[in-house]
């Protein structure tokens, strides 16, 4: 049998329901039912499936019955054992869906299938405000709870790679950045708990500074359609939200993960107090401890990492308002493979020709140099007020403090002095207003932020990024309207102001060689013999816009079409970079003349929903004017030897691609999932392929599941093809051979060959007294395949990591 709350309740009345939860409580008495016999047992089992409308299983739904707890498996199934006889209160909750509260009469084993309907209005999370699933013109792709938990000992970037069209840009195996439709870093802002993460995200070796275990929900929006978060998401947005449950409940979970490759593991624990009124809170922490990772043929020396993270929030839900404060702390030490530290081009040539690292020390947990030590604090206060039946206001202040220390291999006393030491403080203030009337929703808001970057001069190395102050202000308006049950549209407009003022020393020789002499003299404020102290100042005015429609073509098909205009200002690295990059042996030079990037993205998504087959197909076209990228311009000679020089330059770019995802329930036990992503990108100014584009990648997953202990066995094939489209940036450099400098060809362009990996994952659930425990076992890279990935910054030096056995134990209580 199945229970369902009526759909299509008008938004206004639903808002009322949440403010006054009593009417929402629907008590349904289940009479003696089903297969269970009328026996005198005093303890019974309740089982069934939790699903959203259209029979989409809900993974990780929280189930309370009496004093017992449980959660649903990825296929939506759940089982709670040892339920006492008689009438029992049962709550089923899932973020973004209305909580079901029911009475069950337990006179035997009961099977209860539950359909939860989506929350159309949630007061406390502005992020969720437009979750009118069927009317939303922007397609959000969400990670399942199972996926988030699977990557408990990995990173956000690893987990996101399971979304079709999201690739990862890596430095080794621990520093992972999401690449959405070929774009990353400053083009893919990460919104954590409704706050835009400011963590030196411009750097390709700077992974998002957040703990995936603190996420209750992770979703991806491809393109810049969500203007409330900013107008510069040329690639897309990653939204990370904490757990939020509108139900008076207290639950927690602990995940213990151990990995054979790296010989370590992680422990993550969290406890959540949900409520519909009064106090609610979350608290959670994660520890990670990993040693050197191993490639199939050798140890990757100095690739261990450590993390100690905390996230917590306290919220008060009043009658027509709620207020919350939250704080999170991310603290990581990440070793960078020793083999990637090179001194000059001769070292690079040697690394490329040797094909394997010449540093091959035995396994150790010790992390030496090079390494990153990163700390990120995020504190925020949030106040939401229901102004009237149909309008609400949200105010938010957030403070972020990011400290990034990068330690390099240095001589003498400098070994323990970071070569880069940046402190980035960001204050941001947001006000968002929303009004929902018959079929039309208005959203408007302003955001301001002040950011202060301090580059410590105590490093003894001229900083890559200077000390700067940056001020931003933005205002947006979004209107969405439902013309009928099958057609809705959304239009948005945003204006952003930005001003940056930096303090930077330029070597006079560099200043002249960049052609700044006579052009930027007005920035010079002091002469220090060999250097100029300059104060570059730039102001930007940007306009971004979005337009989207959603048409229900039939019961099975939905079509979404989006057009987005986005503008992105050059980041500090693109403007000011000035110096040697040790991990790739290049001199990277920013340019004060870099202008903002403008992108027009057109995309369409076709959604197909059948009971046993689901499909999402997203073709897109992204035309970017003045795309900023690093391009080789020559060679410079220093006392260390020769170095290729890369300058930031701007060209027009055209990207076209297709993301495809399908789920097919072959039988009740077998499911097949398929991901396909291809992007074809050209530098149209230079008429050559665009550098660093993800190659064609396809993944196939076959999953076998049983009701018995929610057992599942999953085999995943990951095929990454050879990228055949790349610009030729190869160059000749003088390398000493028998004392003579010989011009040597350096191939830095040719992508590594494609590869195919097989992974295995399995899991099952069982009751341990009153807690629900899950046991997971997985093998990554089953055949211990040696491979290198085009988008791994260490591909010149080492293979990627080899086989890994993982054991994961999870307790829900």
């Amino acid at each position: 049998m199945s229970l369902s709350f009526g759909e299509g309740v008008r938004v206004r009345s639903e808002a009322m329901l949440i403010l006054y939860p009593n009417p929402m409580r629907i008590y349904i008495l289940l009479l003696a039912l089903l297969a269970g016999s009328w026996c005198a047992h005093s303890q019974h089992t309740i089982s069934g499936k939790v699903a959203a409308p259209n029979n989409i299983p809900l993974d990780g739904a929280h189930i309370h019955i009496g004093l017992l707890h449980g959660s649903s498996a990825p296929d939506g199934s759940y089982e709670v054992h040892n339920v006492a006889s008689g009438e029992q209160h049962m709550y089923i909750s899932y973020i973004g869906y209305k909580t079901m509260d029911t009475l069950v009469n337990m006179q035997g084993d009961v099977r209860l299938d539950i359909v939860l309907s989506p929350e159309t209005m949630q007061l406390e999370e502005v992020v969720l405000a437009e979750t009118k699933v069927s009317k939303n013109t922007v397609h959000e792709q969400r990670l399942t709870t199972e996926t988030i938990e699977k990557y408990s000992n990995a990173s956000l970037g690893d987990a996101l790679k399971e979304v079709a069209g999201v690739y990862s840009l890596r430095t080794g195996s621990t520093l992972v950045k999401p690449v959405i439709n070929g774009l990353h870093s400053s083009r893919v802002p990460v919104i954590s708990n409704n706050v835009r993460l400011e963590d030196q995200q411009w750097g390709t070796e700077h992974a998002p500074n957040l703990d995936i275990n603190s996420a209750g929900r992770v979703s991806v929006i491809k393109g810049a359609s969500a203007l409330q978060y900013g107008g510069d998401a040329i690639g897309g947005l990653v939204l990370v939200e904490p757990v939020s449950v509108l139900q008076d409940t207290l639950f927690g979970k602990t995940i213990l993960t151990t990995d054979s490759n790296g010989r370590g593991g992680s422990l993550s624990s969290s406890i959540h107090k949900g409520n519909y009124s009064g106090w609610a809170w979350n608290a959670g922490g994660t520890f990670k401890y990993m040693g050197d990772r191993e490639a199939p043929d050798y140890v990757l020396s100095n690739t261990g990492n450590r993390e100690a993270n905390f996230a917590g929030d306290v919220k008060y839900l009043g009658n027509d308002y709620d207020a919350s404060v939250s704080y999170s702390f991310y603290n990581a030490t990440i070793g960078i493979a020793k083999a990637t530290h090179i001194g000059n081009v001769a070292d690079l040539v040697r690394a490329i020709n040797n094909g394997q690292p010449d540093v091959a020390a035995p396994f150790t947990y010790t992390i030496g140099a090079p390494r990153q030590e990163v700390q990120h604090h995020l504190a925020k206060a949030n106040f939401n007020k229901q102004l009237s039946d149909d309008a609400s206001l949200s105010l938010q202040y957030a403070f972020q403090l990011n400290n990034r220390k990068e330690f390099d291999m240095r001589r003498g006393d400098y070994a323990n002095v970071p070569a880069l030491d940046l402190v980035l403080a960001t204050h941001s203030l947001n006000a968002d207003w929303k009004k929902v009337t018959n079929g039309t929703e208005y959203k408007t808001g302003i955001s301001t932020s002040a950011q202060f970057n301090n580059a410590s001069p105590d490093t003894g190395v001229r900083p890559l990024i200077p000390t700067y102050d940056k001020y931003d202000a933005g205002v947006y308006g979004i209107v969405s309207h439902s013309f009928s049950n099958s057609l809705s549209a959304e239009a948005g407009l945003r204006y952003d102001f930005s001003h940056i003022s930096a303090m930077k020393y330029y070597q006079k020789t560099r200043w002249n060689s960049l052609g700044y002499n006579g052009v930027y003299d007005h920035f010079i404020i002091k002469d220090t013999v060999s250097q100029w102290l300059t104060n570059p100042r730039f102001t930007y005015h940007n306009v971004s816009a979005s337009l989207g429609i959603r048409k229900k073509l039939s019961l099975k098909y939905d079509l979404l079409a989006n057009a987005g205009l986005a503008m992105r200002n050059p980041n500090p690295s693109e403007l000011f970079s000035d110096g040697l990059h040790h991990s790739n042996g290049t001199i990277e030079l920013g340019n004060l003349g870099i202008e903002k990037e403008k992108a027009l993205k057109l995309s369409a998504t076709l959604l197909k929903r059948e009971s046993n087959f689901r499909m999402e197909a997203t073709p897109y076209l992204n035309a970017i004017r003045d795309f900023i990228y690093l391009s080789p311009t020559g060679v410079e000679y220093t006392i260390r030897g020769t170095f290729p020089v890369f300058n930031y330059r701007q060209d027009n770019v055209l990207m076209a691609g297709l993301d495809l995802h399908t789920d097919w329930d072959i039988t009740g036990h077998f499911r097949h999932s398929f991901n396909f992503a291809y992007v074809h990108a050209d530098n149209t100014t230079r008429k050559e392929p665009l550098i660093d584009m993800p190659p064609l990648n396809i993944s196939n997953t076959l999953r076998y599941s049983l009701d018995w202990h929610s057992l599942f066995l999953e085999l995943r094939s990951e095929a990454v093809f050879t990228q055949t489209r790349y610009p030729d940036n190869n160059f000749y450099a003088d390398v000493p051979v028998n004392g003579e400098l010989v011009p040597t060809y350096v191939d830095i362009s040719t992508p590594p060959p494609g590869y195919h990996l097989l992974h295995f994952t399995s899991g099952m659930q069982f009751a341990l007294g009153k807690t629900l425990a899950s046991l997971g076992f997985s093998v990554n890279n089953i055949f211990n395949t040696a491979y290198r990935d085009y988008l791994n910054r260490q591909r010149f030096y080492t293979d990627d990591i080899g086989r890994n056995f993982q054991l994961q134990l999870k307790f829900n209580y």
């Binding site: 003894g460 070597q507 030897g641």
Partner: protein, 187 residues
């Protein structure tokens, strides 16, 4: 309402504490670790005018190339004692990095590659008894001619790899801290 007041108080406290930012203007970075100058002084055994090879790059990783000077030709068949020095002339007074390299001898080695202008042998050792290369013995070839010499300072080389103790850089690994090339003449 009391809760609301508490929250407001928390909010105000947070703003107050976080709004004090550091407005200090940083001075220029003192680049103390940079090697600007490599010098090799070859003194003939038994006396005579030394041959001095110097490579100097005063803008470090900046765009200017190093300025290279060779004081004169080597004499065919002569044995020279060579002393290698690494300096940072951006610091004032100039810093001699040679002592630091000596102290961390086990983490460094100087390599000499040349085009057959004689033989070069290590005279010094690090604390583990492996060659260091700040002091060498150069026996000039008896056949006069022009050639070149590359002096390379490697950080964290594998000193036990094959041939490294004899000055063969091929298997040394590590990362290059300095690499300078001189055109020399043996008369």
């Amino acid at each position: 309402m009391k809760n609301l007041k508490t929250l407001t108080l928390v909010l105000i406290t947070m703003i107050t504490f976080s709004s004090c930012s550091d407005d200090d203007s940083n001075g220029p970075v003192n680049e103390e670790e940079v090697i600007t100058t490599v010098s090799a002084t070859f003194t003939p055994q038994g006396g005579g005018t030394p041959v001095v090879l110097i490579s100097r790059d005063l803008d470090g990783d900046g765009p200017d190339a190093p300025v290279v000077s060779v004081s004169g030709p080597f004499t065919a068949g002569t044995i020279y004692e060579g002393a290698i020095h690494f300096l940072n002339q951006l610091a004032s007074p100039a810093e001699d990095i040679t002592t630091e390299i000596q102290q961390e001898g086990d983490e460094h080695q100087v390599f000499f590659q040349h085009s057959g202008i004689g033989t070069i042998a290590y005279l010094d050792e690090d604390m583990n008894g492996n060659p260091l290369g700040l002091s060498v013995l150069y026996t000039a070839t008896t056949t006069p001619g022009a050639g070149s010499m590359t002096i390379t300072l490697r950080h964290e080389p594998n000193k036990t790899a094959e041939g490294v103790a004899n000055g063969n850089i091929a298997n040394a690994g590590g990362s290059t801290d300095a690499q300078v090339n001189f055109s020399v003449v043996v008369e």
